[in-house]
């Protein structure tokens, strides 16, 4: 955990320290812009459709993610999206769904 914190900090500092020239390269820049998109999409997919090393979608979790999509389409703020997703899954589980 400390390593993660140190690594994240080092990357931030590196950006402020490194010469501006690097930024000029369009491929480097585009790559750094796209990395979060790829990783966050991968994380979303993995945590929705996988548990451990098996592919499996928990119905309540799927419904929660559906609620997230609906609220995002309605341009709801971040916290509303997250709460709607968790509340949907929690409600379905309370009703006895998987």
């Amino acid at each position: 955990m400390l390593a993660t914190a140190a690594g994240c900090y080092a990357l931030k500092l590196a950006g402020l320290t490194v010469p501006q020239r690097l930024l000029a390269h369009p491929v480097t820049r585009r790559f750094a812009e796209l990395v979060p998109v790829a990783l966050l999409a991968a994380l979303t997919a993995a945590q929705t459709f996988a548990s451990g090393q098996s592919l499996y979608a928990d119905p309540s979790r799927l419904a929660g993610m559906g609620a997230a999509v609906v609220t995002l389409l309605a341009r709801a703020p971040f916290l509303v999206v997250v709460v709607a997703a968790a509340a949907t899954a929690a409600a379905l589980r309370a009703l006895g769904a998987g």
């Binding site: 955990m1 990357l11 950006g15 480097t28 790559f31 979060p36 966050l40 993995a46 945590q47 916290l79």
Partner: protein, 263 residues
Amino acid sequence: MADHAGQAADDATARPVRDGLALGLAVGTSGLAFGAAAVGSGLTVAQACALSLLAYTGASQFALIGAIAAGGGLLAGSASAILLGSRNSLYGLRLASLLRVRGLGRLLAAHGVTDESTAVALAQPGAASARAGFRATFASLYVTWNLATAAGAVGAGRLGSPQSLGLDVVAPAAFLALIWPRLRAGPAERGVGLLGAAIALAATPFCPPGVPVILAAAAALAGALAGRPAGGAAAGGHAPGGQAPGEQAPGEQAPGEQEGESP
């Protein structure tokens, strides 16, 4: 109140400060979700708070606890968290000329580089207002994010089991909300997102948890090499004064209406 010149100077920094404080408060409250999800994935309250104090990078923190919750190794979790934090380096590249910080100031400012502080700073018309916006966002977000993390971590433990609260959905819903504005930004982003998700799912049965997400970075590389915008967009990138703060601001701030992509 005062003469025109004084009022103009006030306005120049008052607006970014107000924007920064408001954004920090709004986004910082999502620390509640992080604190709750962290405890849900097995971290202690102290560990959750330490991550928010020291790592202070929302998406990376969610990635780390996500890998832990999936039973993955700390190494894989840290690797994907750090890879996810690499965008902060890019933000720093763009902020350096605006903030002009040295020595201790730079060490402190580095900790404050986030999606939000960068978005506010780059949205300002000048260096002074950019600095004011950056500082305000950093202060407001740091305080709010850490208090919210502690509250979420303590609260979740008292309320019930993580599953019954739906806390396992918090992290993926947060990830989706975080990339949503980028997915709307253009077909290249959507393509990279879909490819990244496909790579991760395809690799899941064959790799230890956490590793598939790292492999998905290949989608970004493919996107960078293939979907390179032809010439035009990069034309402004050379202004020596570090101007042109408007183009490609990395947050949700950008109005998202980029029609003029003629080849």
